[in-house]
Symmetry: C2
Subunit: 116 residues, 2 copies
């Protein structure tokens, strides 16, 4: 292996993926992270407690902006439930949005397997 090919073999692809609609930025990795977090924890509060990952005021801003652009709710809140404290859940539409993003990410991961 030459020194040149050794240097080249150390180069790894990285990327930022997002979804656009008619050229407008709609949904990226930050929004995916927020939705995934809500989906796993059943509440948006866990973004701040016990450890502050980001403010949920900010997270709601991200969510509301996407909802406004697309015209559909992606997160809905509810009262009560088993813990009695209510929570948040991803709507069916939101789940489809997450699936779309995740499936492209996955195909990019696969596409770069032989470059990693």
């Amino acid at each position: 292996m030459t020194r040149e090919s050794e240097v080249l073999s150390k180069l790894k692809p990285n990327w930022k993926l997002w979804l656009e609609s008619e050229g407008e930025y709609i949904f990226g990795p930050g929004a995916y992270f927020i939705l995934d977090h809500i989906h796993k924890h059943g509440t948006i509060k866990s973004l701040e407690e016990p450890v502050k990952i980001m403010s949920y005021r900010y997270a709601w801003g991200v969510i509301r902006k996407i909802e406004k652009k697309l015209g559909f709710k992606i997160v809905e809140t509810f009262k009560g439930g088993s813990s009695g404290g209510g929570g948040a859940r991803i709507t069916e539409f939101g789940l489809q949005l997450m699936d779309l993003f995740a499936s492209v990410q996955e195909s990019f991961n696969e596409a770069t397997q032989n470059h990693r």
Copy 2:
């Protein structure tokens, strides 16, 4: 087709790809554009003449930075040639770098064909 699936079907993936070495940014679409331009025109001057696309001072800065990080020349200049005015060419190492970037871009294009 429901209104929701219609909205989802309008979403198109877009991305920025770059190459890293041990977490450090090395080579992205801007550098690829510069190298591809030099490769096609045989000179860096065509970045400014007849129409200024970018300053070649800036372009050289981009090239030198990559060369410094990787330890190999990616562009070399020469005097004379058929026109007598000299020119610039991509080194073998530079061409391999371009190929690596282009092949990942191509695989991302293919991976998103069914999402477009």
